[in-house]
């Protein structure tokens, strides 16, 4: 922060308008080494499934480089410094939720950072720090591992859309999709039923027109378009919902599994926590440096639930292929509804006035 800005901050707080001094500061912060460090570290954080990484990315995306007051400049710069510091993987990686093939700037549990007496220090440094008693070392490591477990449990709950943690917005979106699915199902049933009806109901007008192919009549067109439309709609709907079921199966399976067996999963998490603690405490007692063991305790993919697949669902759903199919399915539903209404109108009007239209 430029020293003169500190004076202008006092002036602003005192009641003076100093916004002209803040105008170009946003660009200055964007060129600062702190921001460059942050920007450099963000891509690595995007592949990590922890609350800390998620918050980091959210905060990074929400940075607003157009401060309108000096106070906002201060807050922005402080935020950038804080994020730059915490964008290092040491601060956000959770050994329980690390992907098994993780390649990043740290490779060992010993590189993970904890806070002791207000200072950030790595686990390897704690192991060899003689100024801290073994009990204190174990205490601080245990607190951190408890936090890792809590963070992982939050990830599980969020990933499977735990009803308690789901926001109102998420529930609304989910309900909207469910209602749409039900409506589509009934539409498809109605399309097929009406198709059966028009081709089985003894309506001489309809059948004679069908065989005569009088192209001056709307009925001729709808009697060909309607079945084709039905067929295409059913094919697309069946394809889309089958494809969607495939994408969502990890999460649906996880939800079904956890409804009855959440104890099993959380017990296995606790066992993993004990294993990790034993491992680190052993290193503390014997003063052995931890190396190349970062993903040894990952439980992202267990025999029970595969969270790595679950957290990737959002990416799948955003892909072009999914979105295109979804849009086509929706558009076809509207089109087929239109064709259905038109066909019904033409058919029943012809039937009632005994004249082909």
């Amino acid at each position: 922060m430029d020293e003169d800005k500190k004076f202008y901050l006092l002036a602003e707080i005192a009641g003076w308008n100093c916004s002209n001094y803040s105008e170009e500061y946003g660009a200055k912060i964007q060129n600062s080494s702190a921001y460059r460090t942050l920007k450099y570290n963000i891509p690595e954080a995007e592949g990590v499934f922890t609350q800390d990484a998620k918050e980091l990315i959210e905060n990074y995306n929400n940075l607003d480089f157009n401060p309108s007051t000096i106070k906002e400049c201060f807050l922005l710069e402080e935020k950038v410094n804080y994020l730059a510091l915490h964008s290092d993987p040491r601060f956000y990686i959770n050994p329980f939720s690390i992907v098994p093939n993780y390649i990043g700037s740290i490779s060992s549990l010993g590189d993970l950072a904890l806070s002791i007496n207000g200072k950030d220090i790595t686990i390897n440094e704690i192991i060899f720090d003689d100024s801290i008693t073994i009990e204190d070392k174990k205490k601080v490591v245990e607190e951190k591992v408890d936090y890792y477990l809590y963070d992982f449990e939050q990830l599980v709950s969020e990933a499977i859309g735990n009803a308690k943690s789901r926001t109102n917005q998420e529930r609304k979106t989910q309900n909207k999709f469910f209602k749409r699915t039900i409506l589509k199902f009934f539409l498809d049933i109605f399309l097929v039923t009406f198709l059966l009806f028009i081709f089985t109901f003894p309506n001489n007008l309809f059948f004679s027109n069908l065989y005569n192919n009088d192209y001056s009549k709307i009925l001729t067109y709808v009697s060909y378009i309607y079945p084709i439309m039905c067929f295409i709609t059913l094919i697309i709907d069946v394809s889309f919902y089958s494809y969607r079921a495939r994408i969502y199966e990890p999460i649906n399976y996880a939800r079904r599994f956890l409804k009855k067996n959440s104890d099993l999963l959380f017990q296995s998490l606790k066992r993993q926590k004990e294993k990790l603690l034993d491992y680190i405490f052993g290193a503390i007692q014997t003063r052995i440096e931890l190396i190349n063991d970062l993903s040894d305790f990952s439980i992202l993919s267990t025999s029970y639930v595969s969270l790595d697949k679950i957290v990737n669902i959002e990416k799948e759903v955003k892909k072009l292929k999914y979105r295109r199919l979804s849009d086509i399915s929706t558009s076809l539903s509207y089109a087929s509804l239109g064709v259905l209404i038109l066909t019904m109108a033409v058919y029943f009007i012809s039937l009632s006035i005994n004249l082909v239209i």
């Binding site: 020293e3 702190a34 402080e78 290092d88």
Partner: protein, 238 residues
């Protein structure tokens, strides 16, 4: 037995104590000499022995004389380094007038906890327990940060609620900033000075616009801390 100092002759220690503060460099030497000590001893052996003890300590002249003064005459008003204050408020004002700098001479009151010593000596603490405890607390602050302790005591004693800067008292922050903006001071220098100012820090406890100043100091300290943390991390891990 009498003691001669300049053109005056003193036959009791109480009267002598009243003038010692005016010439501390002279009396600091005298207190270690036989002449004055035997005079005091002839009148009060216990006090002489006390003075002998403190004269063996390595203390600045002003402090030694102050301590000796209140051993000889515990109940007189606050007198230090050629200055007499009729009450603590006057002392506070005197401390504040040098703002934003501290008065080096008066700062010794904080660093040697002389104010609480005076309160004990005069039994002021018995009827003003809370005030005494506050002074002790602020003196303790002064052990960590002398300037901050100094201004805490200055504001507390003087009961001032305004900013005093360069011998001028400002009714509010707005006019204070206006003055600074038009002053000879460089804005960068001012920024540096104000963001770490012990005077402003103390003002944020007592001043009438303390919340505004507190906000200013808080924003600065948080930013400094974030910069420091980042620098340290890069130094240690990169």
């Amino acid at each position: 037995m009498k003691y001669r100092y300049k053109k005056n002759s003193y036959s009791d220690i109480f009267q002598l104590a009243k003038v010692m503060y005016k010439d501390t460099s002279f009396f600091a030497k005298e207190l270690k000499e036989e002449k004055l000590l035997s005079f005091i001893s002839s009148l009060d052996k216990h006090k002489a022995s006390e003075i002998e003890k403190i004269s063996k300590l390595i203390l600045p002249d002003d402090v030694l004389v102050f301590k000796a003064t209140y051993i000889l005459n515990p109940f007189i008003s606050f007198r230090f380094a050629n200055k007499e204050f009729k009450d603590y408020k006057e002392l506070g004002l005197a401390m504040l007038i040098s703002s934003p700098q501290i008065d080096n001479s008066l700062s010794q009151i904080v660093s040697y906890s002389l104010l609480s010593e005076h309160m004990l000596s005069t039994n002021y603490n018995e009827e003003n327990q809370e005030e005494y405890e506050r002074i002790v607390e602020y003196q303790k602050e002064g052990m960590n940060d002398l300037s901050y302790g100094y201004f805490l005591i200055a504001y507390y004693l003087s009961k001032k609620e305004n900013i005093i800067f360069d011998h001028v008292e400002y009714p509010d922050l707005f006019s204070f900033v206006y003055y600074l903006y038009h002053s000879k001071y460089d804005k960068e220098e001012l920024g540096q000075l104000l963001s770490h100012s012990a005077m402003l820090k103390a003002y944020s406890k007592f001043g009438k616009e303390k919340h505004k100043v507190d906000e200013f100091l808080h924003l600065n300290s948080e930013l400094d801390k974030s910069e420091q943390d980042l620098k340290e991390f890069i130094k240690n891990f990169k």
